[in-house]
């Protein structure tokens, strides 16, 4: 393992987060519009406005506010949400598991669909039907996640009402769980009817998130498989009497996986970003759903908390992808 490389990346994380925090903090306060004006009822007096401002510390100079905020974050206090009147930390804790489960499910679906599409494409290589696979993947790519969310909602929620289109779970079900990781905990505890109910609600938004990513994986993987299949070692394998499926699976695939993960892995951030709209469309109670309202209400503490959370996830994701690539490619391991 390239230890030096990994340590270097880890060391760069805090300053990067710091930079993100600074940018968001300043941006929010510099542009017009502030949370107080979103909250006040008409007819509020100047004194009331000033009092509210002071309550949230918005009358202090920016640097002051930033240092104060940093100090609080240091001890785990992200402040209070102005629009929701709860601790930002509590809000994040409550909703983050929902989004994480959704993104996880979406990733699994995307890998399966993308993998199958790439496999079909490579097996049909050179034949006319290959064009159909390429075309299908192209269509998947052109339609973004929120559009898929709307289409799926229409098709399977309304026109052919198979699945629910809002919420994380059926309000009538008594959950009786400890954590907010409803799906994972239910699975671990063997409560399969709860799992079924949860999946009922999650499948459409997860599918919407997954489809564009699946298209990216399909395209990448198929191209990598095709390129690897043309390499000498794959040709030599043919001279050893292995069948084409066997060569594709054992010789070609491990090689094709490397560029696919390297280039495609980073795109999982697409899934993260997509939760903002998709959760909204399906009224799914994750952090993405909170983001839109937070922005509209100019809820500074909440926006800052959300942005930092997203940033941490982005960075962690990049690190994991790099780690996995090093695992897959022995040539990268020895310096």
């Amino acid at each position: 393992m390239r230890w030096g490389e990994i340590i270097r990346r880890l060391v760069l994380v805090p300053p990067t987060l710091f930079g993100v925090a600074v940018i968001v903090f300043v941006l929010l306060r510099v542009v017009p519009g502030d949370p107080i004006s979103m909250m006040i009822s008409p007819g509020a007096s100047e004194a009331d406005i000033a009092r509210l401002r002071a309550l949230y510390g918005l009358d202090q100079p920016i640097l002051h506010q930033f240092v104060a905020w940093l100090g609080q974050v240091g001890i785990g206090d992200f402040g209070r949400s102005i629009s929701v009147r709860q601790s930002v930390f509590d809000l994040l804790l409550m909703r983050l598991p929902a989004t994480l489960e959704l993104v996880l499910l979406a990733t699994v679906i995307a890998l399966v669909i993308g993998g199958l599409a790439a496999l079909t494409g490579i097996l049909l290589r050179g034949r006319r039907a290959e064009w159909a696979v390429d075309g299908g993947v192209g269509v998947l790519l052109a339609i973004p996640d929120f559009l898929w969310a709307l289409i799926l909602l229409l098709l399977f929620g309304v026109l052919v009402p198979l699945l629910p289109i809002s919420g994380r779970t059926d309000p009538q079900i008594d959950l009786d769980l400890h954590s907010n990781f409803y799906l994972i905990e239910s699975l671990v505890r063997g409560r399969f009817d709860t799992v079924a109910a949860l999946l009922h609600h999650m499948i459409l938004p997860a599918l919407a998130l997954a489809l564009p990513f699946a298209a990216i994986i399909a395209r990448l993987l198929k191209a990598s498989l095709a390129e690897a299949e043309d390499q000498d070692y794959a040709q030599v394998a043919r001279a050893r009497g292995y069948s084409r499926p066997s060569i594709l699976l054992h010789e070609v695939f491990p090689n094709a996986l490397i560029p696919t993960v390297a280039l495609g892995g980073v795109q999982i951030t697409l899934l993260l970003g997509g939760t903002v709209l998709v959760e909204r469309i399906f009224s799914y109670e994750g952090i993405g759903n909170m983001a839109i309202d937070a922005v509209i209400n100019r809820d500074f503490p909440l926006i800052q908390g959300l942005v930092l959370t997203f940033a941490v996830m982005f960075i962690a994701l990049n690190l994991v992808v790099d780690f996995v690539v090093t695992l897959l490619d022995p040539r990268l391991r020895h310096g």
């Binding site: 070692y233 394998a237 001279a239 050893r240 009497g241 491990p254 090689n255």
Partner: protein
């Protein structure tokens, strides 16, 4: 005695160009035949045709390829795949790219042995270590656990040779195995091939453009140009008393220890042109002939 490999009048075309124009040659059991020619002569294509690895757009217009009396071209896919790697083996040209970069050496040899010989995992590893010892690789257990990029080019070629002889083949097709190596390593590789083929009793079709190599290891040789056999026979005979002008020209262009460098003469372009036009005439003749 049935020839190990018998190619009769093989004609192969790729798109518009005729790559092999009626090539006939045979390799008897235990024989080492050299297949000589410059790049583009069709030597590699011939090897590929025997292995059934011609490119997808290649057409076999006519001819037969028999291996130990069995028609390779008419064979079912599954039968052919059973032969490949086991009774007919390949030593590929470029050791740097012919091994799978993400699998360990032991894993690559092992899967070959398990696939064709149905050995258990442990038996396969033992046999793999034996094979590496046969190709003069020291510390075979260590090398088995390494990845290709962790061993030298010469060692990689020896691994490939080991894999070729692993299942006791009747025929080994060596596709320019010394071309990508430097001269000192070449000698070792040739010695290895000679030793192993004697040990396993394999026939060898040695494809190369280097007459020096042919002189060292091949008892018989075939000279190929533009997909046509120009000359063939016992190496000793052909190299001392070449019949065809092309063979003579090739000899004159080959560096020898007993001849000064200035005596080297390139193959005359006029001769090459003549040969190509002869080849094309042959094409048009076979088209004009009624079916």
């Amino acid at each position: 005695m049935t020839a190990t490999l018998a190619i009769e009048n093989l004609k192969v075309a790729i798109g518009d160009s005729n790559v092999l124009r009626g090539v006939s040659l045979d390799v008897q059991p235990g024989e080492v035949r050299g297949l000589v020619g410059e790049s583009g002569a069709g030597k590699s294509m011939l090897g590929r045709a025997v292995l059934g690895l011609l490119p997808a757009n290649a057409v076999i217009a006519s001819g037969r390829i028999t291996f130990e009396g069995r028609d390779l071209l008419a064979m079912r896919e599954t039968e052919r795949r059973d032969l490949l790697g086991r009774r007919i083996a390949l030593i590929p040209q470029d050791p740097m790219t012919s091994l799978n970069p993400v699998k360990r050496v032991g894993s690559q040899i092992g899967s070959l042995l398990r696939h064709h010989l149905s050995l258990s995992k442990r038996a396969a590893l033992t046999r793999a270590a034996e094979l590496l010892t046969e190709v003069a690789i020291r510390e075979p257990e260590r090398v088995l656990s390494l990845y290709p990029h962790e061993i030298s080019g010469g060692m990689r070629q020896r691994v490939l040779i080991a894999m070729a002889f692993a299942c006791d083949p009747s025929l080994v097709i060596a596709d320019e195995p010394t071309t990508a190596l430097d001269v000192t390593v070449q000698r070792q590789v040739l010695q290895l091939v000679e030793r192993l083929r004697l040990r396993y009793g394999s026939a060898v079709l040695f494809i190369t453009h280097d007459l020096g190599v042919v002189a060292k290891i091949c008892r018989t040789m075939t000279v190929l140009h533009a997909g046509r056999v120009l000359e063939e026979g016992e190496t000793a005979e052909v190299l001392v008393r070449p019949h065809h002008a092309y063979t003579r020209a090739l000899l004159a262009a080959t560096p020898r220890a007993d001849r000064p460098a200035e005596a080297l003469r390139p193959v005359p372009p006029a001769l090459i042109e003549q040969l190509w036009s002869d080849a094309r005439k042959l094409d048009s003749m076979s088209v004009a002939r009624p079916a």
